[in-house]
C-alpha cells in the first residue's frame, strides 16, 4: 500500500523460472488464467457428457465403441447402461456447477481483474491464492477418478489398493446419486445398488476439497477488495464487476463451510459407521441395516441447500457484474442506476441465504416453513427485476457497438429474464405439487444459472482477452459462435418447459415406460439435435481462443475505449500490474458520453475538470462520481 500513497516507483519483477512463473505462480493474473483453463477443460467434459445423455434419451441402445473401451462395465459393448446414464447425470451436474460455474467467473476473471480494477498490485495473500487454485485442481482430478474408479477396470485396480472403501472396478459405474447426493441413497454404500461404492466416496472427497479451495479464494477476495483499493477508489467508484465478485466471495465464505461440514458427515456415514443421515429400521436390497440408527435424511437436504441456493448466485453474480460492465462500455453510456445495481446485487446475495427451503417443499419438511420459504423466494425476484430494468435503462438512448462481447452481454440479459422468470412458477408451493423435479425445473436452472452465467463468461472472455493475451479474438468467428449458441440454447431449453408441462420427471434414463410422456418424444428428439449442434459450435470458440492467443490481431492497451483501470496499464499487464506507479482514481467507473469531454469516454484516472458542464456527474446521485465527502 505504500506505493499507493507515494508516487515513487517501486517495481516487483516477475519470477524467472518456468515453474514459479507459470505453474506454482503467485501472480493473480497467472492464477486467473489457470482457473479459466481449468474451467475450459471441465466444461468440455461436461458438454460431452450432456451430448451422450441426449443421444441415449433419443436413441437408446446406440453403440459407442469408445465408451465400451473406457467403461467396459458401465457401457458393455459400447451401449450405455441405465446406471451409466445416471452417473453421467451426476458427473455433468457436479462438473458444471463446481468446476465451471464456480471457477471461471470468480477464480478466473475475478482473480485476474479484481486487483487491477481496484488498482492493487496483487491479491492480499498471493500464497493463499496459489493454494486455492491447486487445491481446486486436485478436487477436479479426484472428481474425474470418481467415474473411472468403478467404471474403468485399470483405474479401479489402482484404487482397490487404498482399502475397502475405495475398492473399484466392481462391475458398476458411479457415482449415481445426482449432484445433490441425497442420502440415504448416497450414504448406504454398495448395498444401495450399483454406483454407490468407491465412486461416491471420491465424489464427496472431491467436493470437500473444492470447498476448501473456494474458502481460501473467498478470504482473499474480501480482504483484497476492502484493504487494497488505490487512492481515490471509494467503494461507490468501483466497477460493478468488483461489487459482484465481492458479494460472491461473501456468499462463498458463508456457504461453503456448511457444505464442507455436510460432506464430512456424509463420508463418515459411509466409511466410519456413523448415522448422521441414516435412520434406523432400513431394509435395503433384501436385508436389514441394523448398524445405523437415528439419522435424518432431511438434515442433509437442509445443509446441502443452505449451501446450494447461495451457490446459484455464486455462479451468476459475476456474470451480472460482467454484463453490467460490458453493456455500459459498448452502449457508450453510463450504467443506469449504479447505486440501485449495487443494492440489488447485495440484496440478491443476502436474500439468497433465506430461500433454500424452496428446494424442499415436498421433502417432508414442515409445510409451514414451506410457506415462509415460498414468500421469501418470490421476494428475490424484486432485486432481479431491478437489475433487468437497469440494464434496459442503460441501453435506452445508447449508441450500441455490436462487438462479440456486447452480443453475449445482451444475450445474458435475454437468457437471465427467460430463465429467472419461471422462478415465479416454481417458487410457489401450490405449483410445486406438479412441477417439482420435472423438466420445468431443469429448464429454469439451466437457463438462468447455466447458460446465462456462461453467456456472462463468454462476454467476459471476448472482452478481456485482449488485455490478458495482448491479442484480439477473431470477431467473425466470435459472431458465428454467438449466433448459433444463442439460438441453440433457446432451442434446447424452451422445449424443456413443454416437457415439464407434461409432467416429465428429471433423471430418467428412459421415458418409454410411461404413456403420459408419449407426446414428449418429438420434443426429446428436437432438443437432442439442437444440443448436438450447439455443443458442436463450441469448437469454434475453443479454436478462436487458442488460435487468437498466438495469431490474433495485436491489441492496443484500450481497444474497446473503456474507462476502468485495467485499460490504463500495459497489455498484457506487467507482473505488478501498474509498473510500480499506482493509479489515482478521480471518478466513477462508467463515464461515457460526458458532455463537453473531448472523447466519448473519460478514464477513471483522468483528473477532474475534463467536463465543461461541471457537476453533471452528481445530478442523479447514482454514483457518477462516487462519494464526494
Amino acid at each position: 500500500m505504500a506505493e499507493a500513497t507515494h508516487d515513487e516507483v517501486h517495481r516487483h519483477p516477475a519470477p524467472k523460472g518456468f515453474i514459479r512463473k507459470y505453474i506454482f505462480s503467485l501472480d493473480h493474473k497467472v492464477i486467473g488464467i489457470q482457473y479459466i483453463l481449468l474451467a475450459l477443460s471441465a466444461v468440455l467434459v461436461g458438454m460431452i457428457m450432456s451430448v451422450l445423455m441426449r443421444v441415449n434419451l433419443s436413441w437408446p441402445g446406440s453403440e459407442w465403441s469408445i465408451l465400451g473401451t473406457l467403461f467396459p462395465t458401465g457401457a458393455p459393448g459400447g451401449v450405455m447402461s441405465d446406471s451409466f446414464y445416471l452417473s453421467l447425470v451426476t458427473m455433468h451436474g457436479t462438473l458444471m456447477v463446481f468446476f465451471v460455474l464456480t471457477t471461471a467467473p470468480q477464480g478466473g476473471f475475478g482473480n485476474y481483474f479484481l486487483p487491477i480494477q481496484i488498482g492493487a498490485e496483487d491479491m492480499a495473500f498471493p500464497v493463499l491464492n496459489m493454494l486455492s487454485f491447486w487445491v481446486t485442481f486436485v478436487g477436479f482430478i479426484v472428481l474425474l477418478t470418481a467415474i473411472l474408479a468403478e467404471g474403468n477396470l485399470t483405474v479401479g485396480a489402482w484404487f482397490s489398493k487404498l482399502g475397502a472403501s475405495f475398492a473399484g472396478g466392481t462391475g458398476t459405474v458411479g457415482p449415481i446419486g445426482g449432484w445433490t447426493g441425497y442420502p440415504p441413497l448416497s450414504a448406504l454404500g454398495p448395498i444401495a445398488g450399483p454406483g454407490q461404492g468407491a465412486g461416491v466416496n471420491l465424489w464427496i472427497i472431491s467436493i470437500a476439497i473444492f470447498c476448501v479451495g473456494s474458502l481460501l479464494g473467498a478470504l482473499n477476495f474480501i480482504t483484497t477488495l476492502l484493504n487494497m483499493r488505490t487512492r481515490g477508489m471509494s467503494l461507490m467508484r468501483m466497477p460493478l464487476t468488483c461489487w459482484a465478485w465481492f458479494t460472491t466471495a461473501i456468499l462463498a465464505l458463508l456457504s461453503f463451510p456448511v457444505l464442507l461440514g455436510g460432506g464430512i458427515l456424509l463420508l463418515l456415514d459411509r466409511i466410519a459407521g456413523t448415522s448422521f443421515f441414516i435412520p434406523g429400521g432400513l431394509f435395503v436390497s433384501g436385508s436389514l441395516v441394523p448398524q445405523h440408527n437415528g439419522g435424518s435424511p432431511l438434515l442433509w437436504q437442509h445443509l446441502f441447500w443452505f449451501f446450494g441456493h447461495p451457490e446459484v448466485y455464486i455462479a451468476i453474480l459475476p456474470g451480472m457484474g460482467a454484463t453490467s460492465h460490458i453493456l455500459s462500455t459498448f452502449a457508450r453510456k453510463p450504467i443506469f442506476g449504479y447505486r440501485a445495481m449495487v443494492f440489488a446485487i447485495f440484496a440478491i446475495g443476502m436474500l439468497g441465504f433465506f430461500v433454500w427451503g424452496h428446494h424442499m417443499f415436498i421433502s417432508g419438511m414442515s409445510p409451514y416453513s414451506a410457506v415462509a420459504f415460498s414468500i421469501l423466494t418470490l421476494s428475490i425476484g424484486v432485486p432481479s427485476a431491478i437489475k433487468t430494468f437497469n440494464w434496459l435503462g442503460t441501453l435506452w438512448g445508447a449508441k450500441i457497438r455490436f462487438t462479440t462481447p456486447m452480443l453475449f452481454a445482451i444475450g445474458f440479459v435475454s437468457l437471465f429474464v427467460a430463465g429467472g422468470i419461471t422462478g415465479l412458477v416454481l417458487g410457489q408451493t401450490s405449483l410445486d405439487f406438479f412441477f417439482h423435479d420435472t423438466y420445468f425445473v431443469t429448464a429454469h436452472f439451466h437457463l438462468v444459472m447455466g447458460v446465462a452465467s456462461i453467456f456472462g463468461m463468454f462476454a467476459a472472455t471476448y472482452f478481456w482477452f485482449p488485455k490478458m493475451f495482448g491479442r484480439m479474438m477473431n470477431e467473425t468467428l466470435g459472431k458465428l459462435h454467438f449466433w448459433i449458441t444463442f439460438l441453440g440454447v433457446y432451442a434446447i431449453f424452451i422445449p424443456f418447459h413443454a416437457m415439464g408441462m407434461l409432467g416429465m420427471p428429471r433423471r430418467y434414463a428412459n421415458f418409454g415406460e410411461y404413456a403420459f410422456l408419449k407426446n414428449a418424444h418429438s420434443l426429446v428428439l428436437f432438443v437432442t439435435v439442437a444440443a448436438i449442434i450447439t455443443v458442436g459450435i463450441q469448437i469454434v470458440f475453443y479454436f478462436n481462443f487458442f488460435w487468437s492467443m498466438f495469431k490474433g490481431k495485436k491489441a492496443t492497451d484500450n481497444p474497446w475505449e473503456a474507462t476502468t483501470l485495467e485499460w490504463t496499464t500495459a497489455t498484457p499487464p506487467p507482473h505488478d500490474n501498474f509498473a510500480g506507479v499506482m493509479p489515482t482514481v478521480h471518478r466513477g467507473p462508467y463515464e461515457f458520453a460526458v458532455p463537453g469531454a473531448p472523447r466519448d469516454f473519460v478514464m477513471q484516472t483522468e483528473p477532474e475538470g475534463v467536463e465543461v458542464a461541471a457537476g453533471l456527474g452528481e445530478r442523479s446521485g447514482n454514483g457518477g462520481n462516487g462519494h464526494k465527502h
Binding site: D82, Y182, S374, I386, W396, F592
Partner: protein
C-alpha cells in the same frame, strides 16, 4: 447487427409464448378436487410470467434495434439513472410478486395445513427400490402391527406385517393403488430404503417418501379411471422403472373391493386393471 438481433429476440419471444398459448404440450387432465385450483393458479402465474417475459424481451429487442450505432457524431444520452423510476419499478414488482406468492399458498394450505377430513379412507404407501406397495386395513379398518425385521420380499410381505397381530389378518398388500372417487383419502407415506417420491400428474400431487418418517397426506380424486404413478426422486439404477398404476373407482365398486379377503382382493384388482384403460394422450 442491431436490427437482426432485435428481430431474433422477438422471434424467440413469439415462439416461446406460442408454445404455451397453443397448449399443445399441456398438463394432463386434472382428476383431483384441488387440481382445478392448482391449474387456475398456474394460469394466473403464467400470464404474469408471459407478460413480463414478453415485455422485457420486446423491450430488449427494441432498444438494440433502435439504439444501434449509426455514423452520426452524436453521443449517447448522458444519464446516470432516474431515482423515481427505480422506486416505481421496485414497488410495482414487489407488489405483483408478493401477491402471487401469497396466492400461491392457497392450495398448499388447504392440503398441508389441515388434517385429513373426517371420513378419509386410510391407505399406507410403502416405497422401496423400484417398487410400490399399498396396504389396506381390510374389513376391520385397522392396520396390523409391522416390524422391519419381518419384511420378506420373496414371501410377498413387503411392509413387514406381523401376521400374528390381532388386526393383521385381513390387511392387504397390493402393488396397485386403488382409491375411491369423490371421497377423501389419507395416504401414510413411508419408505424402506432410500428417498422416493409419489407423483401422479393427473392428481397434481407430489410428495417425497422419506425413510425414517411417516408422512400423512390427503386429497380427493374426482374422476374414475386408471392412471400412472411415477417415482419423482432419484432412487437408484431403475428409478425410471419405478412405476405403479392408480385406479380410481366408483365408491360402491371400491367398497366392494376393500371388503374382500386378501386373496380375492388381488384377483378382483387384476380384473379391474384390465377393465379400466389409461387416458388417451
Amino acid at each position: 447487427m442491431g436490427r437482426v438481433l432485435g428481430i431474433a429476440i422477438w422471434v424467440i419471444t413469439i415462439l416461446s409464448v406460442l408454445m404455451f398459448v397453443t397448449k399443445h404440450w399441456w398438463f394432463p387432465e386434472s382428476i383431483s378436487e384441488h387440481g382445478p385450483a392448482v391449474d387456475h393458479q398456474f394460469m394466473i402465474t403464467i400470464i404474469v410470467v408471459g407478460v413480463s417475459f414478453a415485455a422485457a424481451q420486446i423491450g430488449l429487442g427494441w432498444v438494440v434495434w433502435k439504439y444501434r450505432d449509426s455514423a452520426s457524431a452524436q453521443r449517447a444520452t448522458y444519464s446516470h439513472g432516474n431515482n423515481r423510476l427505480e422506486v416505481i419499478w421496485t414497488i410495482v414488482t414487489a407488489v405483483v410478486f408478493i401477491s402471487l406468492a401469497v396466492m400461491g399458498q392457497r392450495v398448499w394450505a388447504s392440503l398441508h395445513l389441515h388434517a385429513a377430513p373426517p371420513g378419509s379412507y386410510q391407505i399406507e404407501v410403502v416405497a422401496q427400490q423400484f417398487a410400490w406397495t399399498f396396504r389396506y386395513p381390510g374389513k376391520d379398518g385397522v392396520f396390523g402391527r409391522t416390524d422391519p425385521s419381518l419384511i420378506n420380499d420373496e414371501g410377498q410381505n413387503f411392509v413387514g406385517l406381523d401376521e400374528t397381530a390381532p388386526n393383521a389378518k385381513d390387511d392387504i398388500q397390493v402393488s396397485t393403488l386403488v382409491i375411491p372417487a369423490n371421497q377423501p383419502v389419507e395416504l401414510i407415506l413411508r419408505s424402506k430404503d432410500v428417498t422416493h417420491s409419489f407423483f401422479v400428474p393427473q392428481l397434481r400431487f407430489k410428495q417425497d417418501l422419506v425413510p425414517g418418517m411417516k408422512i400423512p397426506v390427503h386429497f380427493t380424486a374426482t374422476k374414475v379411471g386408471k392412471y400412472e404413478l411415477a417415482c419423482a426422486e432419484l432412487c437408484g439404477m431403475n428409478h425410471y422403472k419405478m412405476k405403479a398404476y392408480m385406479l380410481v373407482l366408483p365408491k360402491d365398486e371400491f367398497m366392494e373391493l376393500t371388503n374382500l379377503p386378501p386373496a380375492q382382493f388381488l384377483t378382483k384388482k387384476d380384473e379391474l386393471l384390465n377393465k379400466y384403460q389409461l387416458p388417451q394422450y
